[in-house]
């Protein structure tokens, strides 16, 4: 037995070294050996060689841009990552069908990061091995901070659809499609005070989440200036997000007329149900994470009646672009898209616009493309489904107008 163990461990160790060597020897094939999508592999590996030197293998003169996407596809945050990747895929398919970017096709690769910075860096490295030239990601904030740092070292251009923390954009090469958290907090306070919705505010937020506590911090800071009194500030955490009765009870006892909820609709749907059960009916006010609440399967939309949210995207907006996107999404994935999907959809088109403006080609190096896009994105103006007249500051922050939405008769409706 002992002897056998030794043999096994020696064998395993040598196998390990061999496996690493194998992965190293032919990076693309090694990491994708098990992939069933053999045909896409061929393109990826040709691209991997293509981006370092002249592009001779792809056949078409314009070549192929390889855009990578990173987000949580499994784990507790999987809803957001999958939505974003689906949205991006629709944009990529549309662009490719319409002839690509300056004639170059887009190849979109997605990798899972399980909403963890370390796994996210692994995903980034894996995509790099597969020939990624531009990163559309990551979907969530904390992993994005880690990845942005590695991408900065490589000079890669990063456009995150939905990582909204300000820590994400400290590096020059990172830009956001979504609002920053402080921006959302400030805009919410401003809106509530301008429209005189209420003066006594209760807040419920996720104290273990970067997004939620980031918005809450600025909201609390802005509130006094806007004449809002915060009467209750109650937290929950990722480990106890089933019961919100206490937080609601405290808001009610403190006489809050409006409950500000800077978190996602999964938890919000429980909050609304519990508030309804206890007969507490303040104005509920959410931010962009709230979008999607009506499309949660089997959700009783009556509970969300009168819910305000400040979001850049509404799935039932009537403009042609949104209708086209929502239709395509429903056709491909059988669901109504949430804001993450829309952000990623826009992100791909923004990358397209920037590439066209900068006139980069797929045969340029990662850094050349990165530098060119970083300097041109600040000059473009983009009209998307998550906002019109979007422009970018060199800091990476987007400037666009948020939309206030209220839920009326079980549907989203814009309010001015």
């Amino acid at each position: 037995m002992k002897r056998f163990n030794k043999v096994v461990s020696a064998a395993v160790a040598s196998a390990m070294v061999l496996a690493m060597a194998a992965c190293g020897g032919n990076a693309t094939d090694g990491s994708q050996a098990a992939s069933s999508a053999a045909n896409s592999n061929a393109a990826a590996s040709s691209e991997a060689t293509g981006n370092t030197g002249a592009d001779q293998t792809t056949g078409t003169s314009a070549g192929t841009f390889v855009i990578g996407g990173i987000g949580p596809l499994t784990g507790g945050a999987a809803i957001y990552g999958n939505a974003a990747m689906n949205g991006a895929q629709i944009a990529v398919d549309e662009i490719n069908a319409a002839g690509g970017i300056n004639g170059a096709q887009i190849k979109f690769l997605k990798e899972d990061d399980q909403h963890d910075p370390e796994k996210s860096v692994n995903a980034y490295n894996s995509l790099k091995d597969q020939g990624m030239q531009i990163l559309m990601g990551t979907v969530t904030s904390t992993p994005c901070v880690a990845v942005a740092d590695k991408a900065f070292a490589d000079g890669m251009f990063v456009l995150t659809p939905s990582a909204s923390s300000t820590d994400v954009i400290v590096n020059d090469n990172v830009f956001q499609v979504c609002f920053t958290d402080p921006n959302q907090g400030a805009k919410s306070a401003e809106y509530i005070s301008d429209k005189k919705l209420a003066t006594k505010i209760g807040i419920i937020y996720d104290s273990s989440d970067v997004y939620s506590s980031g918005i809450k911090d600025t909201f609390v800071k802005q509130a006094p200036e806007k004449g809002l009194a915060i009467v209750a500030e109650e937290a929950f955490t990722a480990d106890s997000k089933t019961d919100f009765s206490t937080q609601l009870q405290k808001c009610q006892s403190a006489g809050a007329e409006l409950v500000f909820m800077p978190f996602y609709y999964t938890e919000a749907s429980i909050v609304l149900t519990q508030a309804n059960n206890m007969g507490y009916a303040p104005i509920f006010f959410g931010v962009d994470g709230m979008d999607g609440i009506l499309s949660a399967e089997n959700f009783d939309t009556k509970l969300a009646e009168g819910l305000y949210m400040l979001t850049p995207f509404a799935a039932d907006a009537k403009d042609a672009a949104t209708v086209k996107f929502v239709d395509a999404y429903q056709k491909n994935y059988g669901e109504t898209p949430i804001q993450f999907a829309a952000d990623a959809y826009d992100a791909i088109y923004i990358i397209k616009a920037a590439i066209e403006q900068a006139n980069v080609t797929p045969d340029q190096s990662i850094k050349e493309i990165g530098d060119a896009l970083t300097s041109t994105i600040t000059t473009i103006k983009y009209d998307g489904i998550t906002g019109s007249d979007m422009t970018w500051a060199a800091s990476g922050e987007v400037s666009k107008a948020p939309m206030a939405i209220i839920i009326k008769d079980g549907a989203y409706a814009s309010v001015e």
Binding site: V17, E111, V145, D209
Partner: protein, 360 residues
């Protein structure tokens, strides 16, 4: 000749030397491959995490395999090490120029802090046994994670500002100072000081410490407590002392893993995935799969299981599903009495056929 030499050394030290040799061999091979540019970015990026998990697994093995106490809180010690280390290196970044020196300071701070926590937790925990002990360590790990999430430290011209859960009391404006620990946002912009060489050196140090400990008088006392604490007590072994010792060292090694972890990524936050019970359990998986009381096994299991989900990336959506199946199958293969029997039979055949192979 080599055969003779190996046989004349004590079995326990032989075991240790094989492990050291294996680690050094892997290091040399990897260095050669790295120099030759044969290593993909993915594997390069995984080198430090593999060292991190090997380290923590070595630490936990001391606690579970040798001391025989089930801990589900080692991610908590990692967390303490990571936050202390990252805090120190970020705070001293401007005053210490040398990267190595900065890392050493951070490492010492992280290890000391983790051992202090290990010691403090070990004192009450020693009264408990088995699953009750497991749940109390899990509870401590969760408490650490929860507290780190409401901890705020900032620095400006007026010095350091601290707050616990309420930032309004801090009198700090982020326009003229920096956040060191910012609640749920954790620590950002941590200097990137970890590398593969440091990781391997730390693993070797941890291995040397643990091997020497378990092969010493103290180590035999620790294992005597595991095998039968009443008998150990009756022959005059100071149970409390040795339990404390093993648990504290175990926590310290986990803390070192945390420091290495924090300096590999530019951000560290305490989330359920990295410092929650999920991570504690994952480390336990390395230890159990590798074999309790086998440090070499822990390292190999940690490396394999860190590598596995990454090399499975090609499977796309099925990746984590296949990973879980592989995990179950490996557990059954390693631990099921029937499979052990079958392996024994196979091994006998194998050994008969290749009588020299066994010394490899």
């Amino acid at each position: 000749m080599a055969k003779l030499n190996l046989k004349s050394i004590k079995k326990s030290s032989k075991d240790a030397f094989i492990t050291y040799a294996l680690v050094i061999l892997v290091y040399i091979v990897m260095q050669i491959l790295l120099k030759g540019g044969h290593v993909s970015s993915l594997i390069q990026g995984l080198l430090v995490p593999m060292c991190v998990y090997s380290l923590v697994a070595i630490g936990l093995n001391l606690c579970v395999g040798y001391l025989g106490e089930l801990s589900l809180g080692h991610a908590g010690f990692m967390c303490v090490g990571a936050f202390t280390g990252a805090f120190v290196s970020k705070a001293l970044r401007d005053s210490v120029q040398s990267n190595l020196l900065l890392f050493m300071i951070a490492l010492i701070a992280g290890v000391v802090m983790a051992s202090v926590f290990g010691f403090l937790i070990a004192v009450p925990v020693l009264r408990l046994k088995g699953d009750y002990l497991a749940i109390v360590t899990l509870a401590f790990g969760e408490i650490i994670k929860n507290i780190v999430n409401v901890l705020y430290v900032a620095r400006d011209d007026n010095g350091y500002h601290f707050a616990f859960s309420d930032t309004k009391k801090m009198n700090f404006d982020d326009s003229n100072g920096i956040w060191l620990i910012n609640g749920a946002k954790g620590i950002n912009r941590i200097p990137n000081l970890s590398n593969f060489t440091i990781g391997i050196v730390l693993i070797l140090i941890a291995l040397i410490i643990v091997y020497n400990l378990v092969n010493s008088r103290s180590g035999r006392a620790i294992m005597a407590i595991r095998d039968n604490h009443i008998a150990a007590d009756s022959v005059g072994i100071n149970i409390t002392k040795y339990k404390l010792m093993a648990f504290t060292i175990s926590a310290a090694i986990a803390g070192a893993g945390g420091v290495l972890y924090a300096h590999n990524l530019s951000t560290v936050t305490a989330t359920p995935t990295n410092f929650g019970y999920n991570m504690s359990i994952m480390i336990l998986v390395f230890v159990v799969l590798g074999g309790m009381g086998s440090l070499r096994g822990s390292v190999i299991a940690a490396v394999l299981l860190t590598l596995l989900p990454e090399v499975l990336r090609g499977l796309k959506d099925y990746r984590m599903l296949i990973y879980s199946i592989v995990l179950i199958v490996m557990m059954l293969f390693n631990w099921a009495p029937k499979s052990i029997e079958m392996r024994k039979r196979l091994a006998e055949k194998f050994v008969k056929k290749n009588p020299t192979k066994e010394e490899a």
